[in-house]
Symmetry: C3
Subunit: 150 residues, 3 copies
């Protein structure tokens, strides 16, 4: 294996860990493992779910946001696709992931969302973490029950 | 490449084969290649599609389940996401995969499903195989035609 | 690392580049970066979006197809899954990818599509490119507004 291949392999190993980070977010949220979710982020992370919601700042702030299960969804299912990783340097990467999310509300409504995560990942001594996450929403869908409702 | 990297590379190679196993299942089912589907499983596999359906036991049993095309769907489309592989040892892995499945029935109805596969994979002399599969369903959706129907 | 592992690593590196090619297509289309989209294809590519639409031939032809934004969609969201790469030789690969696509028309309608991309990839001096792409559509869905409309 020449030095070019060895460098490519190091990138593959890092990329694999970064992709797992994206997928663990969805897995933990869908399984309501909120303590585990926030461990994926840096202490001073910034998470922006889009217009109309102020960005959440810090791991502590993120845990508080996930701390009100009654205000949230009865179930969620996040489906990540098309994960694209661009390395800025050995310890920083920019990541784009397409997401299709299905939610079930307590009243039975099941809103859907189509969009992209725009993430900044950083390598810390303990591993790769999400430093910044922005959700860009292409569209939101009302399911049948919603559309017919009052 | 140091020994830590070499071990990481071995894991990447195994993980790639395991992820392909998950994807081949969907590809073969969607293309109605049922003889090929069951070759992905161990001879004594256990496949549990969830409450209301008894688990299928053995590759032979699984082939029989797929042997009644008239009782099945006119078309299916399985979309896997978020594949997470955890190695228990060199020859055993636990795998979680988010799935969004679209189906078309003979009557034109197109039910949807959102959930997770919980798989146990084992390395046999001929390669990685699925030893156990459980489908955890978050939700099922009725499409428009169903919802309006009698 | 023995020679078998080294060969497997070369395949992993190539496969990673090929999978990125599939994902970049969706990313560029969803972000309306059409000059970037066509750079993913060979000069003499053939792209077949299925029955009812003549195949597009050449990168120039593909750019023209994407050149009429008014005739297209107001927004698209392409979600790739289950990417399966089969190498025919060191420089040619056959790729199957499951796709779920959501579109929003200018009138607000949001048609959906479920299907598979069947791709032929080739390694050029500048990297892997898509030589042929066929879209196999399992189904198309009308969203609620369409179904109720006149």
């Amino acid at each position: 294996m020449d030095s070019g291949d060895a460098a490519a392999v190091r990138r593959l190993i890092d990329k694999d860990q970064i992709v797992d980070l994206v997928h663990h977010y969805s897995y933990y949220v869908d399984h309501r493992l909120y303590d585990e979710v926030v461990q994926l982020f840096t202490e001073d992370c910034v998470v922006d779910y889009g217009p109309g919601v102020p960005p959440v700042r810090s791991r502590v702030g993120l845990r508080q946001m996930f701390g009100h299960p009654g205000a949230g969804f009865a179930a969620t299912s996040h489906h990540n696709s098309n994960v694209l990783v661009t390395f800025e340097d050995d310890d920083h990467a920019s990541v784009r992931t397409s997401v299709y999310a299905w939610h079930r509300r307590a009243d039975g409504g099941t809103p859907r969302l189509w969009g992209y995560y725009h993430d900044s990942m950083v390598r810390l001594p303990e591993g790769w973490r999400i430093a910044e996450r922005q959700l860009w929403t292409w569209g939101r869908g009302l399911e049948y029950g919603d559309a017919l409702g009052p």
